[in-house]
């Protein structure tokens, strides 16, 4: 069996496509690499989606944590505390059983009991909480002069945030 055949048979095995039955004996190096690489497809899927979506929520959370109004600040504080203060492992278990219980009341939530969606939700929240803390720290260290200069140029509200604060925040948060 050539390496190309192995790749065709087992390349997408972790997605349920291709040959199900594993080779029994005499694993070649090629087979090992292909099988492990096939599992890594899931790593890429979870990694990219959770990071991308997590970053968006993290920006919102960081802003909410920096807000003056307690009704906006408190939920963000608690969200970050819950997801940073408990093990991811426990969060996965809890979310899975939560979705299992909710499924009986709201059947629309059924997809969340499968790994590809349920785990993604937890990872998304977890990433968001961790990066929100980093973004919050960066937001606090945006130089005061930048904001005053933006005010002087007549930037205000959302435009000031998008053009001045946000880029600086990302630049400061990048190393972390």
């Amino acid at each position: 069996m050539s390496c190309w055949e192995t790749l065709a048979d087992y390349g997408l095995r972790s997605l349920g496509i291709g040959e199900r039955l594993l080779p029994r004996s005499d694993f070649t190096l090629c087979q090992q690499v292909v099988l492990i690489g096939s599992g890594m497809l899931w790593n890429i899927y979870f990694g990219t989606l959770a990071l991308l979506s997590g970053f968006v929520l993290a920006t919102g959370l960081a802003l909410a944590k920096a807000a003056k109004h307690p009704l906006i600040r408190q939920p963000a504080l608690w969200f970050i505390f819950v997801f940073r203060g408990s093990p991811l492992f426990i969060q996965f278990f809890f979310a899975y059983f939560l979705f299992l219980s909710l499924k009986q009341v709201y059947p629309i939530l059924t997809p969340f009991t499968s790994a590809w969606a349920g785990a993604l939700v937890v990872l998304f929240f977890n990433t968001a909480a961790y990066s929100a803390e980093i973004f919050y720290g960066a937001l606090q260290s945006v130089p005061k002069g930048d904001i005053e200069a933006a005010d002087a140029y007549g930037f205000s509200g959302a435009r000031r945030f998008r053009r001045i604060i946000w880029p600086t925040m990302l630049r400061l948060a990048w190393p972390a």
């Binding site: 004996s25 505390f81 819950v82 203060g85 408990s86 093990p87 991811l88 492992f89 426990i90 969060q91 278990f93 809890f94 059983f97 939560l98 299992l100 219980s101």
Partner: protein, 294 residues
């Protein structure tokens, strides 16, 4: 446990709950919290010691020792925790059994690796097949502690190595000018002062360690995750006097709250230690404390 618990089927509400939560199985569940705390209590000093040794090795002037220390830090930090936990526990277990095998059964003629199986003679099993249950549990727990100590020791070594370099150099030069030997400088000047620089990193590490404890479950120790799954699952009247539906969600909610409370308590304690260590230090925090007192 209570006298009225003899017939659980007749009980209701809080009384039923009080009986349910004090069954023998629940006692084992509560004990497993002790296991987690014990793991932390043993692992934290062990990895701190490993870290201290690693940091000392990494800053040694004798080059091979320095390479050894730096290599240890780099290798463990570069590999994901879970991979290390699974690898070390299996590798240690098989390594111990292999060594016992070649000393205890020299006339064994079959290969040790048969396909996916790792087969050694009966006398070389660690622990022995006929050993009591608690020996197996202690053995598994010991392997877990050792693995945790190796992994977290590397992280601690990195933090301590950085902290040792953060101590102002003038302090060490002054000590040398006073005629202290390198050993005296290290123990009397460097080590007492480095903790304030090490603490932020070490407290971070402690938080990570707390959150790594559920990994015990992956190592096969009967910890809180194991019991929460076991006790929370649906129970039918045939097998238990306390039948109930799928309560795993509530058990895991309880674990979540436990970890949150533990994290919060650690934060408060670490804050206190930090304030104590900052006192009198030539740092920004120490200066702020001095001004506040004056």
């Amino acid at each position: 446990m209570f006298t009225y618990c003899t017939d659980p089927a007749a009980l209701e509400g809080l009384k039923w709950l009080s009986c349910y939560l004090t069954t023998a199985k629940h006692a084992a569940f509560y004990q497993s919290f002790g296991t987690v705390l014990l793991l932390l209590a043993v692992t934290a000093p062990a990895s701190l010691a490993m870290g201290f040794a690693g940091a000392m090795a990494a800053r040694a002037r004798f080059a091979p020792l320095s390479f050894l220390g730096k290599g240890y830090i780099a290798i463990v930090r570069g590999v994901p925790d879970i991979a290390f936990f699974l690898f070390f526990v299996i590798a240690l277990d098989q390594g111990i059994e292999y060594l016992r095998h070649i000393t205890l059964c020299p006339d064994w003629d079959q290969p040790i690796r048969q396909g996916n199986d790792f087969i050694v003679c009966q006398a070389a099993k660690a622990p022995l097949g006929n050993a009591p249950q608690w020996v197996h549990e202690v053995y598994g727990f010991g392997l877990a502690v050792f693995t945790f100590a190796i992994v977290f020791g590397a992280f601690a070594a990195n933090v301590l190595f950085g902290a040792m370099r953060a101590v102002p150099h003038n302090q060490l030069e002054t000590a040398a000018a006073y005629g202290m030997s390198p050993r005296q400088i290290f123990w009397r000047i460097l080590v007492p002062q480095m903790w304030v620089y090490a603490l932020p990193g070490l407290s971070n590490l402690w938080m990570v360690l707390i959150k790594a404890t559920p990994l015990l479950f992956l190592l096969g120790v009967e910890d809180i995750v194991y019991w929460a799954r076991e006790l929370g699952g649906t129970k039918t009247p045939q097998f238990t006097e306390y039948p109930h539906g799928d309560w795993r969600m509530w058990y895991f909610l309880f674990l979540l709250v436990f970890y949150l409370a533990f994290t919060r308590a650690s934060e408060i304690v670490l804050d206190r230690i930090m304030r104590r260590l900052t006192r009198g230090q030539a740092t920004f925090g120490g200066e702020a404390q001095r001004k506040a007192a004056a």
